[in-house]
Amino acid sequence: MKYIEQDLVIQRMSGRKILNLIFKVLFLFATSLALLALAILLFRIVTQGAGHLSIDFIQNFASRFPEKAGIKAALVGSLWLMAVVAPTSIILGVGSAIYLEEYAKKNKVTTFIQVNISNLAGVPSVVFGLLGLTIFVRALALGNSILAAGFTMSLLILPVIIVASQEAIRSVPAELRDASYGMGATKWQTIVRIILPAAIPGILTGSILALSRAIGETAPLIVIGVPVIIQFLPSGVMDTFTALPMQIYDWSSRPQQEFQQVAAAGIIVLMAFLLFMNSIAVFIRNKFHKRY
């Protein structure tokens, strides 16, 4: 007795193939739509902003006059911000991930912490802004400095970095740990020599994506009270500053038509910044891949 009748299979074949085709077209359509929206956005921004893009735009401070307005303070401010956020969030994030994956006992408390970290990743950035305002700006009296903003942004992206790093650490095969422990390696040696090198591509990808989010975030900066019109460059982490998204937000909310073009030029700079960061990530990732 046969369960599968060849005749029936052949008879139904064409229907299955048509369904296959329909879904293929549907998914292609969905992808094209997303790409199209992106293309229109890019086209609009480039046509609007390219005219204003020049060496002067990069070298000038903000101004009341659109033709003189430049992005220098915001660009340098964002770099300073990254200089605080990147080390703070990566060290804390990877450290927490190592602790949770390798050291913490799997019990109710760790499960509770785990669930909360995942939930934190979904908390709106304004809330982190308020947290930063209360703790760093006021309680620790850091004011609206680079340090206060940097710490706030670090908190904002910490959950994402922790979760991504945990995932990367967890995906290191158990056989590699066994091999290392089996030779008398300590936990720390195993983490440093086996687990981290194998997990680093994943950790870096997650961290860079999180940092990109920090560069583009505006809400926490507004809440903290980061100013926009700044006519000097910060000389240390305790100075006030402004950042790219703040500057762009300010320009785009001005009534003059010319400032819309300045904002577009600012967006181009921001996107170049992001592209640059992502290429660093890809570079580091490939370098590590070659070593192993």
Partner: protein, 272 residues
């Protein structure tokens, strides 16, 4: 074909060399082990001698892996594990609270079922053990790497590609690199958990020959599902069933004249 050759070689060099006077490396006394509430090892008593190959056989789930992972305390990586009884390694109880597991695992190397090289070069794989134990000198490391790879009968196959990734060689070669990696810490005992079950017959044969070579310098405990393999390469055989040792004797006795009915049933393929 290959099987017969090996068996012939074995019979020509007097297989039953009774070495009852030999020193014990491991004495297991009344060992019990639980995974949570699962009683996986029950009242195990085993005495393992120096420079012998001890095979552990038995049906799936009878506790073979658990037992050899207990010998280097790797089993404790499972959080729910509890043990009682004692295992003396060179006359010291490995469960003593002041016994360092790192030290134990430096004396007792392990080879796993699936070849598990690190995603590093062949050289760095073999040098891993010496490096974690503090050897930095390049010249000494080079010597250890060569000696270990020769010891694992793989030197000639990889000597020109020491700095290539260990994943780039065949499974059988990877397994011998893992054996070399275990030899590099200059162990006293080598534990092997089904080291050939993922390999083709030719690689298996090479590893079996290697085990014969290695027992001159090391004591070897090997888990295997393959009866012929146990018969070919071991001096003593322990038959495990449901977490108990049913019979432990000279391999020839176990295979030709077992004293327990269950052993006979198992080796003749009636269950398991």
């Amino acid at each position: 074909m290959m099987t017969t050759i090996v068996e012939k070689e074995r019979t020509t060099e007097s297989p039953v060399r009774v070495k009852e006077h030999a020193k014990s490396v491991y004495s297991t006394n009344q060992l019990n082990l639980w995974y949570g509430s699962n009683h996986a090892l029950k009242n195990i008593d085993l005495d393992i001698k120096e420079h012998e190959v001890t095979a552990i056989i038995g049906p799936s789930g009878c506790g073979k892996s658990t037992y050899i992972k207990t010998l280097n305390r790797m089993v404790e990586l499972v959080p729910s594990v509890k043990t009682s009884g004692e295992i003396l390694y060179r006359d010291r109880n490995i469960f003593d609270s002041n016994y360092s597991v790192e030290e134990l695992r430096t004396r007792v190397g392990m080879v796993f079922q699936k070849p598990n090289p690190f995603p590093k070069s062949i050289y760095d794989n073999v040098a891993y053990g010496p490096r974690i134990h503090g050897i930095r000198n390049k010249k000494i490391l080079n010597e250890i790497v060569e000696k270990s790879l020769r010891g694992a009968a793989i030197w000639d196959e990889v000597k020109d590609r020491l700095h290539e990734n260990a994943y780039g060689v065949s499974g059988g070669q990877q397994q011998r690199i893992c054996i070399a990696r275990a030899l590099a810490i200059e162990p006293d005992v080598i534990l092997m958990d089904e080291p050939t079950s993922a390999l083709d017959p030719i690689s298996t044969l090479k590893i079996e020959e290697l085990v014969q070579e290695l027992k001159k310098d090391y004591s070897i405990i090997i888990v295997t599902h393959n009866m012929q393999q146990a018969a070919r390469i071991s001096d003593k055989t322990a038959f495990f069933l449901n977490g108990e040792v049913v019979e432990f004797d000279h391999t020839d006795t176990i295979f030709s004249n077992p004293s327990d009915k269950r052993t006979e049933d198992y080796i003749s393929g009636r269950f398991g």
